[in-house]
């Protein structure tokens, strides 16, 4: 047989050349699973796919390019394997002499060491073997072995280039793969998580702990040898929520801190796996006080793990290793929970001391003066919106607590500078690790518009040009959105936003629009059904909606699910919008949501687990004369359904009915009724409510368009006077308007109507609109009725507390100020009489056939204001004072003596409630009977000439009821 081989081999080698048909297809890579290596997994995959047609044009499995997948392809690929014998791992010998050229040793279970060329200076016997857990290295509570312990030899061997250790991970029951990490077991039994010795030595993130779910193996770079093993840790039971508040109490954030263990004061190290372990070289964190530094910047990182299942436990394990000072101060989990592992006053290693940047100018930001925030983000994942929202809140708190300047857009470009020069000049105080030294940190979408920053093998960023299919190219960079939110957040939370659901005015004889209803309601069941109270019901619930300043966003309507909504710019909605939020709703002072459809206001419904913060404008007005025939648009509606809100700053609500065509100097026909005001309903659980605001936003600050167009400004010559119960028939008079004097017989002109209610700045207003004026002529028509006011209702649970501060609660008919000038018979002098009316003017009787003018329209009915349940408390100076951080002043309640409600009240007068310190709490238009007054009837039409009589004065509208307020 041997003879045969000797004889036949050369010949058959020739035959092989003659008949062999190895024609490898260009691009036939064999790397079927695209893991960068050709190994037995690829060959096996080809084998399993054998005897099928290759996909066109190129199929990695079709190694010989014959368009069929056969065992021949499998064998060809086997000859191309990256490692000898197509090894994936574990097949090298357990001990081998390895030299400068590098090599590998391994065990059958897949544990192995890969030594790159140049790591060793000369031939060295490298070994790996399994050993029992060393004596003294008993795992603490909460930790479990997640594999075997391996001793790498020779012990103490160091390398010029880091080597890679790979071990199989056996995930213990109850743990996730991402909980597991490779730890070094020292001879004294102490355990230390291994970082990544190959890269930036200042790593606040455990990026080097890589996990391959396909093989179930963990790997990490090492610079030296010892004993290593995989350990899984859990932390959950050891943390407790703590509310952090800035010194003035205006910014708060909830963080989780270890409830036990040696965290914070001096030691960074805590977690269930390491806190009991003594470290031979345990180091304490340096405090900023000892270095004379203060916090001057916030640096954002992402954890950048290539382990797709990496959990916060793994990161905290790295951050809190007793012997490892590489950590950030805060870690934000994907669900938005914030973990604090070091005091702000401690110096941690998360960027460096400035020596490793090499870039100029120097930023002046180093470990010594920077607080680090890590976002848990495994490479390739999108950021979770709850993380972004938590990042905003945390950065907001830190900015406030440490007096850091807020980011500002360049007014010329509308952009954030965020370059080295602007940062060095003290511009942006919130930066990324990338800003510091160019490291690809954070990865992903955080730093660019619709562009994903991938991580390269060298941990640097690839060119940020890779756009993501489906990404909104107009979406702001997440960091810009964070900047926007930080810049727009109102420090004192004193700004009162505005919800406007008013109906539009009508033109001609058409009907104006009614105001829409506004509601804030706590209903856990409804919210739970919509978004889930524990687990988000929607897969899209991890996406935030962030609308920054600039071009309005207008592609949103219908039902949308987000983690949180942060709007600092303008969101234009056509139609209705239902937001289902896992987190909360934040409308910054400059933010607007405008809802319109065909001239009507749209409906905004918000289901939110959190407490909405409404400091901007929600504009769901109906438009004036929306339709071609002059019909006023109906106001939309705003409905907030909340799971368990904290203290709620109730925005100013304006839900007035539209006016009938009262401004028309020549009414075309009989006036129609004014629009009805919407209802404002607040049903809350045991939470404080704050209505109004001390120095908060005023309506005019919003630059609202005029609510009514076409008014005629006339300077009143006299101070307004109230009208008594009896009004004499108007004598002949003239009216001076804008310098023009007109005879009264020709026209009576409604004068300037105050912007909404005179003096109304904030609070809740649900007035009905003005009725239209009657038209003149021989058969003069009556004026239209004033619209009814809406109801304002607080339905509170017993422990809920309401504070009003400088707030108006106004319902009833809208009041227009009308001036007559007439002769007083007694004196023969002309005098201006000022009438506040609701129903509009009757028409003027003119012409020979006229017998009388039209009647004034009746006033609208006042709505009801009612509080049931809860209690009214003194208004704090700031909304922030309502927060539990500072709490209420114990024992103080609003007494009648505080109300200032004394003496007789004239019809139509305003009654204010003030606190003992003189603060205005709220005011109402109120009648002597204690009921809200209805609108006054309109002034009669007609003229006092022989044979003709003026019309009747319109009847006063019915009063509303008042309940639950102190001085009723």
């Amino acid at each position: 047989m041997n003879t045969m081989r000797l004889v036949s081999k050369p010949l058959l080698a020739c035959a092989a050349l003659c008949f062999g048909s190895i024609q490898l297809a260009a691009g036939a890579a064999c790397d079927v699973n695209d893991d960068g290596a050709i190994d037995r997994a690829d060959v096996t995959a080809i084998t399993l796919a054998r005897n099928s047609i290759a996909t066109m044009p190129v199929d990695d499995r079709d190694a010989d390019g014959d368009h069929q997948i056969t065992v021949l392809d499998a064998r060809i690929c086997a000859t191309r394997c990256s490692l000898p014998n197509c090894a994936v791992a574990g097949l090298p010998p357990s001990s081998a002499v390895i030299g400068v050229g590098g090599g590998a040793v391994g065990l059958p279970d897949g544990a192995r060491i890969d030594i790159p060329p140049g790591a060793l200076g000369g031939a060295t016997t490298i070994s790996i073997k399994e050993i029992p857990l060393p004596v003294g290295a008993a795992l603490p509570t909460g930790a479990r072995l997640a594999g075997k312990i391996y001793e790498l030899g020779p012990t103490g061997q160091t390398f010029q280039i880091p080597v890679r250790l790979t071990v199989p991970l056996v995930t213990p029951a109850g743990f996730a793969a991402g909980d597991g990490s490779i730890y070094r077991i020292e001879s004294d039994g102490s355990l230390h998580m291994v970082g990544d010795a190959s890269q930036d030595p200042i790593e606040a993130e455990s990026a080097g702990q890589a996990f391959d779910p396909a093989t179930g193996r963990l790997s990490v770079h090492l610079s030296g040898f010892s004993a290593y093993g995989a350990i899984a840790v859990k932390h959950a039971a050891n943390f407790a929520d703590v509310v952090l508040a800035s010194a003035n109490g205006t910014a708060t954030v909830t963080v989780r801190r270890p409830a036990t263990g040696g965290l914070r004061a001096t030691k960074p190290g805590y977690n269930a796996a390491t806190h009991k372990v003594n470290c031979a070289t345990q180091l304490n964190l340096v405090t900023r006080a000892t270095t004379g530094n203060s916090v001057q910047a916030i640096v954002i990182h992402s954890t950048n793990s290539t382990n797709s299942g990496r959990t916060i436990d793994g990161e905290l394990g790295w951050a809190t290793d007793n012997c490892n000072l590489f950590l950030a101060h805060y870690y934000i989990d994907k669900d938005g929970l914030i973990y604090q592992v070091a005091d702000d006053g401690s110096v941690t290693n998360h960027i460096g001391d400035g020596s490793n940047t090499g870039a100029q100018p120097s930023l002046g930001i180093v470990n010594g003066n920077a607080v680090g925030i890590e976002l848990l983000n495994n490479v390739g994942e999108p950021y979770d919106g709850r993380q972004i929202t938590s990042l905003v809140r945390l950065a907001d708190y830190l900015s406030e607590a440490h007096g850091l300047a807020r980011p500002v857009r360049d007014p010329a470009t509308g952009l954030y500078a965020r370059n080295r020069q602007s940062i060095a000049n003290g511009g942006e105080r919130v930066i990324t690790h990338n800003d510091y030294n160019g490291k690809c940190d954070p990865v992903g979408f955080l730093r660019s518009v619709g562009r994903y920053f991938p991580l390269t093998a060298a941990q640097g960023c690839a060119t940020p040009s890779q756009t993501i299919a489906g990404a909104d190219p107009n979406a702001p960079a997440l960091l810009d959105a964070v900047y926007d939110a930080l810049g727009m957040l109102d420090r004192d939370r004193q700004h009162t936003g505005v919800v406007n659901t008013s109906g539009g005015d009508s033109y001609g004889t058409e009907a104006p629009g009614d105001g829409g209803n506004v509601r804030f309601r706590v209903d856990r069941t409804v919210v739970g059904n919509a978004v889930g109270l524990v687990v988000p019901l929607s897969s899209t619930a991890n996406a935030p909606l962030i609308v920054g300043p600039g071009t309005p966003r207008s592609n949103l309507s219908g039902t949308q699910t987000f983690s949180d909504v942060i709007i600092a710019g303008t969101l234009e909605v056509t139609g209705n919008l239902e937001l289902r939020l896992v987190g909360t709703f934040y409308l910054a002072p400059g933010g607007r949501i405008v809802l319109r459809q065909n001239g009507n206001g749209g409906r905004l419904t918000v289901y939110s687990r959190g407490t909405p913060i409404i400091q901007g404008l929600i504009d769901a007005r109906g438009e004036d004369g929306a339709a071609a025939n002059g019909v006023g648009g109906a106001g939309g509606a705003v409905d907030f359904l909340l799971a368990a809100p904290g203290p709620l700053l109730v925005p100013t609500v304006i839900s007035r009915g539209g006016d009938s065509d009262v401004a028309n100097p020549t009414p075309p026909a009989g006036g129609t009724h004014g629009g009805r005001g919407g209802n404002v309903t607040i049903e809350t659980a045991d939470s404080p409510l704050f209505v109004g605001g001390g120095v908060g936003l005023r309506i005019n600050d919003l630059d609202l368009p005029p609510i009514r167009s076409g008014t005629i400004p006339i300077t009143l010559p006299l101070a307004p006077r109230h009208v008594g119960d009896f009004l004499p028939p108007p004598p002949p008079f003239t009216l001076t308007s804008l310098g023009v004097t007109r005879p009264v017989a020709d026209q009576r002109v409604p004068l300037v109507k105050s912007f909404l209610q005179p003096g109304f700045s904030r609070g809740l207003l649900t007035t009905g609109g003005m009725g239209g004026a009657g038209s003149g002529g021989a058969g003069a028509l009556n004026g239209g009725a004033g619209g009814d006011g809406g109801n304002i209702t607080f339905t509170l649970t017993p422990n809920a507390r309401v504070a009003f501060r400088d707030a108006d609660l106004i319902t009833g008919a809208e009041v227009e100020t009308v001036v007559y000038r007439f002769f007083l018979p007694e004196s023969g002098l002309a005098e201006n009489i000022v009438f506040p009316v609701s129903g509009s003017l009757g028409g003027v009787g003119t012409g020979t056939g006229a017998t009388r003018g039209g009647d004034g329209g009746p006033g609208g009915k006042a709505g009801n204001i009612l509080r049931t349940g809860g209690s009214i408390v003194p208004a704090p100076a700031r909304f922030a004072d309502l927060y539990p951080v500072r709490g209420f002043v114990a024992g103080l309640r609003l007494h009648d003596s505080d109300s200032g409600a004394t003496g007789n009240t004239a019809l139509g007068s305003v009654k204010e409630a003030t606190s003992a310190t003189g603060q205005k709490l709220y005011r109402l238009r109120i009648s002597t009977s204690g009921a809200l007054i209805g609108g006054l009837g309109g002034i009669a039409g007609g003229k006092a000439v022989a044979g003709q009589f003026p019309g009747a004065i319109g009847a006063q509208g019915a009063g509303g009821s008042l309940g639950g307020l102190p001085f009723q």
Binding site: M1, M4, R5, S8, K9, L11, L12, A13, A15, A16, F19, G20, S21, I22, R40, V43, T44, T47, R50, N51, A63, D64, T70, V71, L72, D73, A74, R75, I76, C77, A78, T79, C81, P84, N85, C86, L91
Partner: protein, 188 residues
Amino acid sequence: MKSPRWLGWVLFSAVILCGGAHGAILEFRPASTAVAGGHLATIAIWAVGDDIDSRGLGAYDISVTFDGNMLRFDSAQSESALGAFTTGLDVSLLASGVNAVEVSFEAPDDLIALQSGELPLVTLRLLAIAPGTSALAFSGAILGDASGAALSASFNTGSITVVPEPGALILCMVGLLLLNATLRRRRS
């Protein structure tokens, strides 16, 4: 017995030297056998040929048919002809037979050095379930050399005869008698 074997090699070598028949021959060993009902027949698949010796065998994908009324697949075992590192033998059942596939991970040179021109690939164990003679045949095969190039293959057939239990006993007794006669002849 010697002459046919010697003649076989001469003929085989002649074929090779003439260059007329490259590739490998797949055959069953033993080519024919008898098994009593209820017992296992053990049949090995061999690859024979100098192409295998010179170019090596890096992969095989072989389908074997038999009469499913008489035989039922029981198990199969790789004979490790492709080296220590392979995908492992993967056997799947066909309508009336089995398919066996294995790919070597060994380097081509190592494989050629390891192999000879006569390789046992797979041993099949078939359970005899009904009397009769079932043909054994290769319904298809793809053989790859050490580099993954195709090796042409020709097939030899075989058979398994399933005999009833009494028949098997008789055969056994006949065999014993023949053996006894032979021994007596040698002693004499």
